[in-house]
Symmetry: C2
Subunit: 275 residues, 2 copies
């Protein structure tokens, strides 16, 4: 999905909501647990009940890999369900935090983007910048595919290295400044945590037009209003993620319905902010 | 495998060789490609022909993930083959470069260490430090399991951020200094590229006793002599990885035999260096 198609999707749905599919069997409704693939059945129900409200879905790969081969089967079924059932109707993100030397990142890119090789095709993958340019560039050779580079994350540990400062430049600012030269705002986004919303104004000075993927609203304590205030651009420029608040809104028979209610609440708030 | 067991293995085999299983179907012998699981069959042959020479095996997860579910099946069979056929005879490393917020890293730890959950159990996993302490700590709650933190990598892009300098401290030095407090030399190692061997002396001042996993000897141009000169400790303290030079020594019917010849050559060199 290219940038214009993503912007059109946001305008059409009046939403910049990304739903994080951090699907955890221990937190899902009991009635699903005996099914052959509870993770996929859960995801399918969440997707079906929110497809008109969310512009993006973001499976968090850790929650699939913890079940090994079976988890990758659930992941495969989930991404193919979205692509086949709702073609062009959702931007899909493999939240994988990958990154390695060039010949290895090439293989990770095939895993996430090349359906003929891996059986899966996402629109975007999150990547870690620590290993620099050649660890990131192989992902950029796929047309209409995106990388989302970790810049400033939402967790406490973000302070350990991301704030490491050379003169007046913090590492996350150096990551933004240097890495934006490797691609463009047509194939790169950045992760900026909602818990650091007050820093979005400074970040927007470095990357005025790039889309930002913003986790940390909800369970982690970030505020959607604050994020929008400092991060919105004329093209929206934001994908705000919510995982636990939506997908675990209820763990009863009504889980998909309650997830929809929570997604509606966020979409309404976003619609107002987009005006 | 705990530290003393690893040291015993090194002394017994007179080797600190780690073989990287970056198994690429396009580079393997033609006669394997028609088998049901060429990646596993290739790995099995390499392992069988080198188990007395290598102390560690390091599957590079990208080379499995690029085949999706089928790749994870090959990975699962490979790690279980080592654990079941050669129990206690090799240290196993999931080269995965993982790292995410705490509740997510917990799931990655299950994927790599908890066989009851994922069907796989490695001794160690490589992790990326960018997200800080809480992204790394969940991996440290498994007894006798290890994390191998990226410090100074072997690729060109290492210079982009790892050399970012605050006063006289470079980022990779800050990663070493801060992160070594999160665990100990009983459960943490560091990745230090052989292409930067001249920097090992400085690194040894920060982490005198930690094991270092050293990629980049061979295809990437690093020198084993230089690495040993600056990196060896009284407990050895090194695992030197070779991937392409060994596993693709030949792409004919004799590939396992040629891989063994190359591993023998490296083991002999290591035996001399250990004296």
């Amino acid at each position: 999905m290219n940038r214009q198609e993503l912007i059109n999707l946001i305008r059409h749905k009046k939403s910049f909501l990304c739903i994080g599919l951090d699907t955890d069997i221990s937190k899902m409704p009991a009635h699903l647990k005996d099914l052959e693939d509870p993770v996929f059945e859960f995801n399918k129900a969440i997707i079906d009940s929110t497809i008109d409200l969310a512009v993006a879905y973001k499976p968090n790969l850790a929650f699939y890999e913890c079940y090994g081969v079976k988890g990758w089967q659930s992941l495969n079924k989930t991404i193919n369900y979205i692509n086949n059932t709702y073609p062009g109707r959702a931007f899909t993100i493999a939240d994988a935090k990958r990154g390695d030397i060039g010949n290895t990142s090439q293989q990770y890119a095939r895993a996430m983007f090349d359906k003929a090789s891996s059986g899966m095709e996402f629109d975007a993958v999150t990547v870690a910048p620590y290993m620099g340019e050649d660890s990131v560039k192989p992902f950029l050779s796929y047309p209409s595919k995106w990388i989302i580079v970790l810049a400033l994350t939402s967790n406490k540990g973000a302070e350990d290295f991301q704030f490491f400062t050379r003169q007046n430049t913090r590492l996350f600012e150096q990551v933004l400044t240097l890495s934006k030269q490797w691609g463009s705002d047509e194939n790169m986004m950045y992760v900026v945590g909602a818990t650091k919303a007050e820093m979005l104004a400074g970040i927007r000075k470095i990357v005025p037009n790039h889309f930002l993927l913003v986790p940390g609203v909800g369970a982690q304590g970030g505020s959607l209003q604050e994020v929008a205030k400092h991060g919105l651009t004329k093209d929206c420029g934001l994908l705000v993620n919510s995982s636990r608040n939506i997908i675990y809104a209820s763990n009863g028979l009504d889980f998909a319905e309650k997830a929809r209610e929570e997604a509606v609440r966020m979409q309404k708030e976003m619609e107002a902010l987009l005006k």
